[in-house]
């Protein structure tokens, strides 16, 4: 999405991506490119296909047609774990955490991925590894969850589990971070922290965000894609999207300033 991207500097490239479920056309002929280090926000009406698109990019669902390249590699036929190995980390719209484990233990599972786990020893007793613990505390601090580190996930609030999901994705040291509605269900304070966190991401990380909270969505984006009925409705800079009367009518509503 920068000036004439070449294949080499593309983090993600979608070409004619479609997916149907039975008779439902969830994603239809979607094509776009995201260059390295860009921040893309996807907004759109409910049921437009935003989360389905995430599932197609990460390999949760196979495509009905089209192709996907991640960091220049054709991953269309590759399973989800192979794509994760390309350096993608994502969160889900609904929480997928280990509820019987503490916040810290959940994070250990992600850090283990990132540290490549060549040594099994600390896996049995991860709390004994100083390196792991300090890294864990550092990440929890970034998402404002350190005070809850030793509490079971089943006992933290919904908003806090959203923050933990972001922490787990960050812990994987991704080259491309994909967040599905990270601001949903979190309080205004935590939302402010989230915006700061997203803005402070290393410039090497490509960020793709699905978000309904415009204060978050437009604050961090270089580029915005608006989806409707499985298709790309329009695409532009945050300012262009804010000014668009078509987007206001379709998605933002009249109250939006």
């Amino acid at each position: 999405m920068s000036q004439t991207p070449t294949k080499q500097n593309l983090a993600l490239s979608l070409s004619g991506v479609s997916r149907s479920f039975g008779g439902i056309r969830a994603v239809a002929d979607v094509s776009f490119e995201v260059s390295h280090g860009k921040r893309l926000t996807i907004i759109g009406t409910n049921g437009a296909g935003k989360s389905t698109l995430f599932n197609l990019i990460t390999g949760v669902y196979p495509l009905s047609s089209g192709s996907i390249h991640i960091f220049g590699e054709d991953v269309t036929k590759q399973p989800a774990y192979k794509r994760a190995q390309c350096g993608i980390a994502r969160t889900f719209q609904t929480s997928k955490l280990f509820s019987g484990m503490t916040v810290r233990e959940n994070l250990f599972t992600s850090l283990r991925q990132a540290m490549n786990a060549e040594k099994i020893s600390w896996l049995a007793n991860p709390e004994k590894s100083e390196k792991l613990n300090s890294e864990c505390s550092q990440i929890l601090e970034r998402v404002d969850l350190l005070r809850k580190a030793d509490i079971k996930v089943s006992e933290i609030s919904h908003g806090e589990s959203r923050q933990l999901e972001v922490a787990m994705a960050l812990a994987m040291k991704p080259k491309m971070l994909m967040l599905d509605e990270p601001a949903a269900g979190i309080s205004p304070t935590e939302r402010g922290r989230l915006v700061e966190l997203l803005k402070s991401l290393e410039s090497s990380i490509t960020l793709i965000l699905i978000e309904h909270d415009m204060a978050v969505a437009l604050a961090v984006a270089d580029e915005v894609i608006v989806m409707h009925d499985g298709e790309v409705f329009t695409q532009g800079t945050p300012e262009e999207i804010r000014q668009s009367s078509a987007v206001r009518d379709l998605y933002l509503g009249s109250n939006h300033e």
Partner: protein, 231 residues
């Protein structure tokens, strides 16, 4: 009348106590409950619905004591609950979700829910697992309304909804309030909460810390910073 009266309620999970003596009364004016994450808002909703036991205090709805009775009976006392996380049935279609609650001569029927959320009408025949997050949210709200509740207890109904839908939901709920619908709304979206409720109760550290007018909260960054921690 059928006020919901919460008095000195304590509750929690296992050894962790989350609510430390909550007092709150919901009568015919809609009230929004706000506060930072992890302060006990959803826990209070679960305590009202009997999904977790209260360890001290009392909750009554009209002349019915909700303590120790089943969630089914609590719902039948006239409380429609929209839980956080939607909880729709993956294998039931949108239409089935609504039709199993249909009663004769009832104020709410599936047709009225489809008028409220036209998107659900388009998804009528789709199973719960085939709905997007926002569509599931609409269904959870529609399902609660189908029980013709005296009191609508909603835990973050705006979560995951597109801004235009949030606006539409606010307008629809306001119209219901004018017809006498009682509402206890748990929300993170101040603008939405303020559009519906004149009074906002602030929950902090398991207690009602303050009750403020939504107009005052909306217009004062100082109050927002004090009660919601907005920087």
């Amino acid at each position: 009348m059928s006020d919901l009266v919460i008095a000195q309620v304590e509750a929690g999970y296992g050894h962790v106590r989350v609510l430390h003596g909550v007092d709150l009364t919901v009568s015919d004016k809609p009230i929004a409950l706000m506060g930072r994450n992890g302060m006990g808002k959803s826990t209070l909703a679960q305590a009202i619905m009997g999904l977790i036991p209260i360890t001290s205090g009392s909750i009554t709805h009209g002349n019915i004591n909700l303590q120790g009775i089943t969630t089914t009976k609590i719902a039948r006392s006239g409380i429609g609950y929209v839980p956080q996380g939607r909880r729709v049935f993956p294998s039931l279609t949108v239409d089935e979700h609504l039709r199993i609650l249909e009663q004769k001569n009832s104020k709410w029927n599936s047709k009225k829910v489809y008028e409220l959320f036209p998107r659900l009408a388009e998804r009528k025949k789709n199973g719960g697992s085939m709905l997007s997050g926002g569509e599931q949210q609409m269904l959870a709200i529609g399902r609660a309304l189908m029980t013709n509740p005296t009191l609508l207890l909603m835990d973050e109904p705006s979560e995951g909804l597109a801004p235009a839908i949030v606006e539409h939901l606010g307008n629809s709920l306001r119209a219901l309030v004018e017809q006498g619908q009682r509402i206890l709304l748990i929300e993170q979206n101040l603008k939405f909460a303020a559009s519906l409720c004149d009074e906002i109760a602030i929950l902090a550290n398991g207690q009602i810390q303050a009750s403020v007018s939504s107009y005052a909260l909306l217009s004062s960054p100082d109050l927002q910073s004090k009660y919601l921690g907005v920087a």
